[in-house]
């Protein structure tokens, strides 16, 4: 009998677009019609497929069909036509903006073609609530291999040789960390998974914990075996309810199968993992603050002059890695370090998961080999800028990262190249900005985020960020003076050097990189008193180019202040007295007729 399997994406993005209803409806209808035809249908809810922009996604195997933006009402047609008769429903296929046509399989789109999935290998392919599906795809084989065919030293050497570096942002060599920790004969030792992803716009770790929780458990267990630890913690931020749920479920199933707990797989090795729910402080993603939080203290970092591998959780040797790092471990053990080394650049091996967001056509979760250029990321995988506007910058590395300008678009993305450009890899958030983004406003946004999220313990970070934010706010409000820039730079260096933890040390990055790549924009705000991107209300005025205006009236329709007047057949005009500078008119005009004025007239 022929069988078809339907995979309904139930990652957070698709769930928000009602994919659970799609799943239920498909399941109901598949059962209803099953009796009538010779097609056995299995409907599965999977983790995030990555192309959140086009969700909810429904994949059908073995036909290799992928439907996008599926609604519960489409279920009947999918069951009747595709599942029962193998027909393709054209209107539900993904429209590829590069190829300018609809494609049958999602794998035919540029978004997926340029990717290489290691950490995300199972996500979207399995039901995360079912450990058997993980095992069918080779899950827990690496753990068996480590326990029965390798010594702890072999495991560490393999990870060292692979060149894997911490995916949480720091990029510290994972194998070296394990090696150092294994040398301390001070027990108990702990293994921690950092799942406190807090960067605005980042959802890599979330998707892994939601879509493939077992890979994290397997990775941690392998590490525990190599450093001789018996207790692990997974720190998950409390907002990630689905991740908490799926992880808890996976832990229980792993215990039932003897993959966790006492005497794992009869090897004599004991290891168990607890989940700790984070309270939602960004700073608790910093490793030492995270450990404080697990201990039940206020989440404040400590100086890392003595590393956590020596004195970490409760003062004991501890290995802490990020979710994505753990997800790479089983694959490296199974396929070997030589295979892993063959991917990536000289000093950054393997792949990196990014959450690609901002003004690109295809937003979502992507995994690319290290060394892929930003241009490929933005224009091929991302499909270019929305509305084909002009590219301005990409922001990498979260709030503590930096902005990279157009002249560095061909930069191969890896730990070292990003650092050289003044930004950083961070945990992998990539925000694409177009010409309608004011870079000072961007720096101000990140500093205001950090001013609230700094733990507030040390003077440099708490007071420094607060004052830098004041200066930037003055500049955006048109009150900036030239001396401010000098003071701003001086403060940046003090905060960078004198802060206690990584949060403070990297907090000036958004300011330093915008000062470096977009200094002219600062001058425009301070000297010419205008915001070239037309964002800062005090420094912005719009006008309508009479020659370009087609008199369609769309701008007037979108103006919330009724500041745009005009008649059909005549060019429209803006009443600057009423204008609230929201920019809706610019964004809605299809003919580029609305412009940011060169002179603000102040």
């Amino acid at each position: 009998m022929m069988s078809r399997t339907v995979y309904v994406c139930c990652g957070t993005g698709c769930l928000a677009n009602n994919s659970m209803d799609v799943y239920k409806q498909l399941k109901k209808l598949a059962q209803k019609y099953e009796a009538d035809v010779e097609v056995k249908t299995i409907v599965k809810a999977t983790g995030c497929n990555g192309l959140c922009e086009k969700g909810p996604l429904v994949k059908i195997q073995p036909d290799n069909i992928c439907y996008s933006k599926v609604k519960p009402d489409d279920a009947e047609e999918i069951v009747k036509r595709t599942l029962m008769n193998g027909e393709i429903i054209d209107r539900l296929l993904i429209y590829d903006t590069a190829l300018k046509r609809r494609v049958i399989s999602h794998k035919d789109t540029d978004f997926y073609k340029c990717q290489m999935k290691i950490a995300l290998r199972n996500i979207g392919e399995i039901d995360p609530a079912n450990i058997d599906e993980y095992m069918e795809r080779g899950g827990y084989k690496a753990l068996r291999k480590a326990l029965f065919q390798m010594t702890p030293q072999d495991v560490i050497s393999e990870i060292e040789r692979s060149g894997l570096r911490g995916r949480g942002g720091g990029g510290f060599p994972t194998g070296v960390k394990w090696r150092q920790c294994s040398k301390f004969q001070n027990f108990p030792k702990y293994v921690i998974c950092n799942g406190d992803e807090g960067d605005p716009g980042a959802f890599m770790d979330r998707s892994i914990m939601e879509g493939d929780p077992n890979t994290v458990i397997e990775g941690m267990t392998i590490c525990a075996y190599s450093i001789n630890s018996n207790r692990g913690f997974i720190y998950i931020r409390d907002e990630y309810s689905l991740a908490l749920n799926n992880m808890n479920n996976a832990l229980n199933q792993a215990r039932e199968r003897g993959l966790l707990g006492k005497n794992i797989l009869n090897s004599g090795f004991d290891f168990d993992i607890e989940i700790v729910r984070g309270g939602g402080a960004f700073v608790c993603g910093e490793s030492t603050a995270l450990m404080q939080s697990i201990e039940g203290n206020v989440g404040e970092p400590r100086a890392k002059y003595i590393r956590s591998v020596e004195k970490g959780l409760w003062g004991q040797p501890t290995v802490l890695n990020n979710v994505e790092t753990w997800a790479n471990i089983p694959e490296i053990i199974m396929k070997g370090s030589d295979w892993f080394c063959s991917i990536g650049t000289e000093n950054s091996k393997g792949t990196k998961v990014f959450s690609l967001v901002g003004k690109v056509k295809n937003t979502g979760l992507v995994e690319i080999p290290m060394g892929t250029t930003l241009r490929e990321l933005v224009y091929k995988i991302g499909g270019g800028i929305i509305g084909d506007k002009k590219f301005k910058a990409v922001q990498t590395g979260g709030p503590s990262g930096g902005c990279i300008a157009e002249d560095l678009l061909d930069l191969p993305v890896d730990f070292d190249s990003l650092k050289e450009a003044g930004s950083m890899m961070g945990s992998g958030g990539i925000i694409v900005m177009d010409e309608r983004t004011c870079m000072i406003d961007v720096a101000r946004y990140y500093l205001s985020f950090l001013s609230e999220e700094s733990c507030g313990k040390c003077v440099a970070c708490r007071e420094g960020i607060k004052r830098m934010l004041e200066i930037l706010t003055d500049i955006c409000d048109g009150k900036g003076i030239e001396e401010d820039l000098e003071l701003l730079e001086s403060l940046c260096h003090t905060v960078e050097e004198a802060s206690l933890c990584g949060l403070g040390k990297t907090a000036p990055n958004p300011v330093l990189t915008t000062l470096k790549h977009f200094r002219n924009e600062y001058y425009a705000h301070i000297i010419e008193k205008r915001c070239p991107a037309g964002v800062c209300p005090e420094l912005t005025a719009y006008e309508i180019d009479k020659k370009l205006c087609k008199s369609c009236g769309l701008c007037a329709k979108n103006c919330p202040a009724s500041a745009i007047l005009g008649k059909r057949g005549e060019a429209y005009s803006i009443n600057t007295q009423l204008c609230i500078k929201c920019g809706n008119c610019i964004d809605s005009c299809r003919f580029n007729a609305v412009k940011v004025k060169k002179e603000v007239g102040k």
């Binding site: 402080a281 700073v283 206020v298 400590r302 100086a303 002059y305 003595i306 950090l450 001013s451 609230e452 999220e453 700094s454 733990c455 507030g456 313990k457 040390c458 003077v459 440099a460 708490r462 007071e463 420094g464 960020i465 607060k466 004052r467 004041e470 200066i471 401010d484 003071l487 001086s490 403060l491 260096h493 003090t494 050097e497 004198a498 802060s499 206690l500």
Partner: protein, 248 residues
């Protein structure tokens, strides 16, 4: 092992802090949040120094930096002076009328007019020494709450704390005298809580709270806690010593 601080060779033990070693050798490093009895905060950052460890230069907080290698240390390079000047400028922005900070600002050449302004009645620099003192003494009545720019030191929900014994240790260790203790008619008011003061059995001066005495009794045992103020305790010991020496 030996380390070099400002070109002076200093003897050092493994894991001693740089500040300890510097102070032993009469090398001045300014601090605000450091107290020998309550070390390890590292929050004011004023004690930053430059170190060169195996050729690598970095800035570290000397009060918490444990020495493990034979390093070179520079306590007042231009870079360090600049950092301290900026930190003090930031602190003055926070506590514009605090004398301790003003004095340090003068020492580190912070200009009289700065861009930043703050609450003229504020004296707390959020160093956390008070919280640590309260914790170490066992009462844990105060704590830092919130984070970032809204951080402050207070009792739970800003209400009078059931735990507070009114001992005043927090105020005693505060480097900027930010914690106010009011005493009037035998009543002490601290952290919005009133305490009856007990009188010294020798001189009759009100000196400690009832809660404090009870706490000490519980901790040390009845025999060790007497109703004597600090100066009377000293006077009695001095008399005892006098007796001993006279008899000898």
């Amino acid at each position: 092992m030996k380390i070099i601080i400002d070109n002076i060779e200093c003897e050092a033990q493994k894991d001693e802090t740089l500040l300890q070693i510097a102070r032993r050798n009469d090398i001045h490093i300014p601090t605000l949040c450091h107290n020998d009895a309550l070390p390890g905060l590292g929050s004011c950052r004023l004690c930053v120094v430059e170190i060169v460890d195996k050729g690598r230069r970095s800035v570290v907080a000397s009060c918490i930096y444990p020495v493990r290698n034979e390093i070179e240390v520079y306590t007042c390079s231009d870079k360090i002076k600049n950092i301290r000047r900026n930190l003090l400028m930031l602190l003055r922005g926070r506590v514009p009328n605090d004398e301790t900070i003003k004095k340090l600002c003068k020492e580190y050449l912070v200009p009289d007019r700065i861009k930043f302004s703050g609450d003229k009645d504020e004296h707390c620099i959020l160093c956390g020494l008070c919280v640590k003192a309260c914790q170490e003494l066992g009462a844990s009545a105060i704590s830092t709450v919130n984070r970032g720019i809204t951080k402050k030191v207070t009792t739970p929900y800003d209400e009078p704390s059931a735990q507070c014994i009114g001992c005043g240790s927090c105020a005693y260790v505060c480097p900027t005298d930010a914690i106010k203790i009011e005493e009037k008619d035998g009543i002490r008011n601290i952290w919005n809580k009133e305490f009856q003061l007990l009188r010294c059995t020798r001189c009759g001066k009100p000196f400690a709270t009832k809660e404090q005495l009870e706490y000490n009794r519980e901790k040390l045992g009845e025999a060790h806690v007497k109703l004597l103020c600090e100066s009377c305790k000293k006077a009695i010991i001095a008399e005892k010593l006098k007796d001993i020496y006279e008899k000898v």
